[in-house]
Amino acid sequence: MIMIARNIREKLPLILVVLLWPGSAFAHAWGNTYSLPIPFELYAYGAAAALIISFVLVGYFAKAGVAPSGDVRLLYGDGIDVASAAGLSKTLTALQIVSVLGLTLTIVTGLFGNPNPFSNFSITFFWVIFVLGFTYFTAVAGNLYALINPWMVICEWVEGIWSQAFSGRKAYPKWAGYWPAILLYGAFLWIELFGHAGPRFVAIALVAYTVITFSSAVVYGKRAWFRYGEFFAVFLRLISKMAPFEYVAASGRIELRLRRPFQALTHATADHPTLALFILFMLSSTAFDGAHETLPWVNIFWRQFFPRMEPLISSFGLKPYDISSNLYYGWQWIMFALSPFVYYAAYLFFIWLTKIVTRSRLTVRQLSLHFAFSLIPIAVVYHVSHYFALLLTEGPNIFARASDPFGYGWDLFGTATKDFSIVPPAGVVWHTQVWFILAGHILSVYVAHAQALQVFPSRAQAVRSQLPMLFLMVILTSLGLWILSLPIAAGQVNSSITPG
């Protein structure tokens, strides 16, 4: 109980910030992509293709069996020793300094700069360059974040002066698993989806997160906290399993290793059910982001819930329309908070079907840990297909923001007033989205099959085990494509402004 109370106490700053911050008037201002819903024919084709490919793959695996065997092996000799190769070691230090400077500049420009999100360095840098750009870079280049995490780097610098600072005063409770990361990830997503966050809000949230991270690292030790609690570390570690590169720090050396393609997905198991929940949260939050402003979703509230609630509200002497927008947002928030659990329940259901179909003696919990990483490719391509257009339309403008990071009217590099946006044609966006989702689906089916061959002793059992998982993946893929095809509900709740 004391543990829980302390956890809540440590998270209080963030909770308070979230609850007490007055709503900003930046309704739907920043962060919109210019993407059109994909045409129905393209969605139907994609879903059918996913289905057909899946069965062809399973049929092929039934005959051929392609799982790579053995442990994670070094592809090229002993790897490259980054710490001792002088040039690379200096590069790493430089990257760490850049990382800490990036965090610092984001906070400082957010707190003291122009509140207009289009003019401030912090918004573009944090949401687009870091959250989108660096995530996709991690999927290809591996877990560089583990080496340059700004919060961890600062901890290491402090330890240079006071070596016991972050060695931990209490053992991290293993039963808690990844819950801290899940809760903090949820708070971050809430800010992204509903916070209408201007630069100041983002800066304050980052300061609060910094306080939470350092105080938790003092209590539980930096190793435990950066493994289970710092949600960017957990998120990027999962994403990095897609990449063929691995950075291994051991006894003062850092090695760069090459892995067989997707080996970190096929030959690894989740170590706690909450890690599987985190992965399902990645999936559900992207799906929710895509769905929550579409016409069919919005109509669930306005056509089904609200008409039924009106008599109840009136019976309290209130006018329904006066509080309708509060109820609407409350409903959206509740649906968002429930979404990871709905997805997790569906996942456990199909894992349970897998157990039945194979008559396996392994428990649902054990099987759910084995197959959790097979969902990572689908989570990554969902994310890419929803947000890559924003990376193109807002990412390049970092060159303009760099000239005038505070939005004061500076022009350090002569680029401040230029528009670097790349607006891809709608057709290009559609095909990119569908291709990515199909590719991710194929990859997930392959990974799940490779995992099944390790879990089940006979090939027949392994192939049978794949049928429920296949069903789940076809549902997830079709759902992802369907959400992309839904019409967007037009301008929802408008806030009033003072006339110019």
Partner: protein, 124 residues
């Protein structure tokens, strides 16, 4: 070539064909026309006019806006701006050469953005 290699090549070819098949669904071009829309704003909200206007890429669009309050309007993505006076009207003329979904925003005194309407430009 040995049989397993043939099967693998055939499989990769099939997958490629399926992915490439999505290209079949390229948008069909439509002849460019002129389209005109009228939006009436009261209290910074849309009182009449459609909140989602659909045009085809290449169309010439005339957007008439009447407002009871003075507003600065911006079409994001096209980066076009125009002002409407208090109890006045204004027209924005442009060619919809970029496809996608673009937002018409009113900007307030403190740089607030209010979403007024959306223009969907279907690709050619």
């Amino acid at each position: 070539m040995s049989r397993p290699v043939v099967i693998r090549v055939a499989l990769v070819a099939l997958l490629f064909a399926v992915l490439a098949g999505a290209l079949y669904f390229t948008p069909k071009p439509a002849p460019a026309t002129e389209k005109s829309f009228t939006l009436v704003l009261k209290d910074n909200a849309l009182a009449s006019g459609s909140s989602v206007m659909t045009v085809n890429q290449g169309d010439t669009v005339a957007l008439h806006v009447q407002s009871d309050r003075g507003l600065h309007l911006e079409l994001h993505g096209y980066e076009k701006e125009f002002d409407v006076g208090s109890d006045g009207e204004a027209t924005l003329n442009f060619v919809a050469d970029k496809s996608g979904r673009f937002f018409l925003h009113a900007h307030g005194a403190n740089d607030e953005h209010i979403e007024i309407a959306t223009i969907e430009v279907q690709p050619r």
